[in-house]
Symmetry: C2
Subunit: 217 residues, 2 copies
């Protein structure tokens, strides 16, 4: 499997998490920052290898083999991200690009030993679950902050969007995973949400609240 094939599998997997039916060529092209024609070529190749199901003009879906392969790459990505934060002093907004490279290193021993070195962690620095060796993913009961009602409390457990801009914004707000917060109310004017984190009360935009996962308390 080439680096490129692995990235396509990951992209199709992630798109499949949201969307219901088949994944469109255009959607894949969008997230891969490439052209639809290139996607068509690659999808055919992956279909030949039995990793995706594909019918002309009807989009693609991962086969079970493809799904497992995608998950194995995601496992590596998230373990490396955690390694970078835990052991090498990276911050959560610096790890993604490096993990994009490290996830393609081929060595079973490497990844299993890394897993052990990190003490078999269950989530990465962004709160995303780390699949186990066999591809099982621990589901967690997280909801978007935006869904909490006034007065409800939650603890931050993850981000939906892990762009540097959002992560650094959260840093400036001093919102980090593990922190408890309480919803004080919603502003009808712009749908922003007033929350209390520790001692301080802050306003968080609707967009931000729709990208921050919390576990209800």
């Amino acid at each position: 499997m080439t680096l490129s094939e692995e990235n396509y599998l990951k992209a199709i997997y992630h798109l499949g998490r949201d969307a219901k039916g088949a994944i469109s060529t255009n959607a894949i092209a969008e997230v891969m920052a490439t052209k639809a024609s290139s996607v068509t070529d690659m999808i055919k190749k992956l279909a030949d290898k039995g990793l995706v199901k594909y019918k002309r003009y009807q989009g693609a879906n991962l086969t079970e083999d493809g799904r497992l392969y995608a998950i194995s790459v995601i496992r590596k990505h998230r373990l490396w991200e955690l390694f970078l934060v835990e052991k090498l002093n990276f911050s959560w907004d610096e790890v993604h690009d490096v993990a994009e490279q490290l996830e393609h290193v081929k060595s079973d021993k490497l990844i299993e030993e890394l897993d052990a070195f990190l003490d078999f962690p269950s989530v990465d620095p962004h709160g995303d679950p780390i699949p186990d060796k066999d591809g099982n993913i621990q589901a967690s009961a997280k909801v978007l902050l935006a869904t909490l009602k006034t007065g409800e409390k939650g603890v931050c457990v993850g981000v939906k969007n892990s762009s540097r801009a959002f992560l650094q914004y959260l840093d400036r707000l001093e919102v980090s995973l593990g922190k408890e917060l309480t919803v004080l109310g919603k502003e009808p004017f712009d749908n922003s949400i007033a929350i209390r984190v520790g001692d301080t009360a802050i306003h968080i935009s609707s967009l931000a609240a729709n990208n921050l996962y919390v576990k209800k308390l």
Copy 2:
């Protein structure tokens, strides 16, 4: 810089350590396990980038830029090898292939933090020096075991050949870096060398003795 270009630079650097003048196309093809015609193409590309000096039919040499780039890749290789042994329970004969992949990951922060995480080590698991951030390489006073005379003592500090076969052979002989040994004598018949390591006396072939570095005591 592509993965392939980095590998060529490393190969030319290592060949230059031994050989005196320019490095021949054939020699590079040999160590890269490729064909001379492919080497010619790549050398031209590297020459265009100012990383090697090249005159048709006259072989190649690294420029100062090329030398520094090669050393930076070797630095990464050796730091990763040490990481694998020290932190992830790899043995010294398992690390090379994985390090060949990891050495191409691009991130200055990654490698500097890895260096710090390992406590700024000076040698890799095979006794090879780890270049510092600026490309300086600590020279050490090692000599081949084969050069020791009867009665001389030394401590193992490195291997010249780090093939798995040789490393595993040393493991079976219970010869590892840091061990002290004494030369008991040479066998005229096959040039093998009798040595004492710890309590036990063993015979080591001439070939092996020409691939094991010791520091004289």
